[in-house]
């Protein structure tokens, strides 16, 4: 069942006039996700763009109860909140809202611990592939070859594959999504919030200022990432992998859109040398080989 557009009228929880940059994909993600999440949630916002997007006290831009916490504390604080809600007999979901820096780097231990304990939390990683809040420094989630302020000539190491790491933790639900495909994202959030256990969704958020493209093209780039198969859309429910419809064409190399179309629209790959681009393509190809095996049931992480 997918949510018709009529159903989502005014159900989102973002108050206009946030401190986000114009064209911010994290805001798009918040609007889409809050529509699917509904009322009964507490958002734990980890240090990142969203800490600032909420605006200045005593006003807040998120129409949810929000706990702002230190960088590495998100999943642990959410575990505590989930336990407290259980004790109080309240059906309220603890939702972590973290960036890629807070997920792949500093928050990795806390995330891994919460996943191992199968805590009843929903972990959302809004992935803009760098530490954008501080101006765009490289993170573990930055792809190889991308120019950031700490890797001006291109990052030397490849992207840390968080969804695969989470699948290896054998949690009930792991999914990837993109702000270019809102109904797919809403569906996955609706599913994840019903899980009694750990679920995580990694949402691709193309940042116009960090990735260097026109802010009006945010949704377009988010779609292109999926069409060129750079960003897979899939769900892994209890170890069973399901490739989302928008991505099925990626299973065959011949039907993939060339990745160059995704890379050339962004300024951050403009000066990347050919060797790094080849490694990036190899990364994408290898990822799809593994996804194919898992999809056919021949590999379970």
């Amino acid at each position: 069942m997918s949510l018709g557009v009529r159903d989502i009228l005014n159900r989102h929880k973002l108050m206009p006039g946030t401190s986000a940059c114009p064209g911010c994909p994290e805001n798009i993600a918040m609007r889409i996700i809050s529509t699917a999440l509904g009322e009964n949630a507490v958002i734990i916002v980890v240090a990142g763009c969203s800490s600032v997007i909420q605006g200045m006290g005593p006003n807040s831009a998120y129409n949810y109860p929000v706990l702002n916490v230190a960088f590495a504390a998100g999943p642990a604080a959410a575990s505590g909140i989930a336990a407290a809600m259980r004790t109080r007999g309240k059906n309220v979901k603890a939702v972590v809202w973290a960036g890629d820096g807070g997920t792949a780097d500093i928050g990795m231990a806390s995330l891994s611990g919460a996943a191992e304990r199968n805590e009843d939390i929903l972990y959302i990683c809004v992935d803009n592939e760098a530490y954008m809040n501080t101006g765009g420094q490289r993170s573990g989630s930055t792809p190889i070859g991308a120019s950031t302020t700490t890797t001006p000539m291109g990052k030397r190491h490849n992207k840390k594959n968080i969804p695969f790491i989470m699948m290896a933790h054998r949690v009930p639900y792991v999914a990837t999504a993109s702000v270019g495909y809102p109904h797919d994202l809403m569906e996955k959030i609706r599913k994840a919030k019903e899980i009694r256990g750990f679920s995580c969704v990694q949402v691709l958020c193309p940042d116009p200022y960090g990735w260097m493209f026109e802010p009006s093209k945010t949704a377009e780039v988010a779609k292109l990432a999926v069409q060129t198969c750079y960003w897979p859309l899939f769900e892994c429910e209890n170890g069973i992998l399901k490739i989302s419809d928008e991505c099925l064409h990626c299973l065959d190399k011949r039907t993939r859109k060339p990745i160059q179309e995704f890379l050339k629209i962004q300024g951050r790959f403009k000066h990347a040398d050919q060797q790094k681009i080849r490694e990036l393509e190899e990364y994408v190809n290898e990822m799809w080989e593994k996804l194919k095996l898992m999809y056919k049931g021949n590999l379970k992480l």
């Binding site: 605006g55 200045m56 006290g57 916490v69 590495a72 642990a76 505590g80 336990a83 805590e119």
Partner: protein
Amino acid sequence: MMEKVISGNDAVALAVKLSRVKVTGIYPITPQTYIIESLSEMKDRGELETEIIRVESEHSAMAATFGAAAAGVRAYTATASQGLLYMHEMVWWVAGSRIPVVMTVGTRAVGPPWNIWNEHTDFMSERDSGWIMAFASTPQEAMDLTITAFRITEDERVFLPMMIGMDGFILSHTKTRVYVPSQEEVDSYLPPRRQPYVLDPEDSIAMGNMFSPEDYMKLRESIHRAQIASKEVIVEAGKEYMKRVVPIGSYSTLNESYKLEDADYAVVIMGAWSLDAMQAVDELRKEGLKVGVYRVRFVRPWAEEEVVKALSDKSVLVLDRSVSFGRGGQLYTEVKASLPDTDIKGVITGLGGVSIGKNEMKVIIRKFVEKPQGIEWFYPEEARKIELRSPRYIK
């Protein structure tokens, strides 16, 4: 009320159970490990209603405890030395958020080199954070302070977290007689939980998003004023505790005076070794020396008025089981700031678990009487003879 022979760790675990703590985030570290083991055993036997979250680091232990507390339930955690320093960021975060949380610190030396024995430096490193900080001298006091902590922190005049220090191994592991109150007695003493705000979808609030510099400064001043206001709350909570729960103890003042009224010399000290100091004082008095003990129980808030009243006309010796490198012992610095016109001697000793008992105390006090100024590092007789044996690599 029941009489039991238990250790500080056992006593604290019982206090957690009696205070009806609902959620605890735990991570093992010597010497606190068997608080959490005790809680886990009680839970598995069905005697404890606390939900236990076995997190993957101390930083997460404080984060989980904080999350639960912000979501409206009584929460507790325990740590020591390296763990306390690792969770330092979250310790400050909790105080700034004004959510009541209670923590036990089994005090222990900080590495390198590795050292698991008793020292107060880890505890003292959190003085600036905004937490109310109390230090126990017996397992009984560790339990009493833990129970009263829930009442103090949840008072609307306070709304600050509190930590209770307990000497590693000396108090945490040594068994003594403890009067353990009944569940009914503690229930009559602790009111239902209160906190300044709660995370609840029925009334959406955001905690901690950006505020202007001026607002931020006002919020910080509020923490300071709440600390000052807590002095009154601490005394009230202490007196009620002695009336309704366990009648022994000296909780009608923040700190404790022992044979101080007619004394010429005062020994300022904190922790389990205060009792050794009191024994030393008893014996020295027989030799005619008029000396007393001022036992610091609350490091924060600092009981300025009590300190000035008790010590301003005395010659003061401060014994520190911790040090702020480049300045001296922390208690020495605090007392000196309260008594600028008094001659004060600071002695740093007992670090890393070096054993200081009654006899060493007598030596220290006699030396102080001869020369009541300065800062000195004191080693017991046998320790003085040991030559540090690590190789010298200076090329």
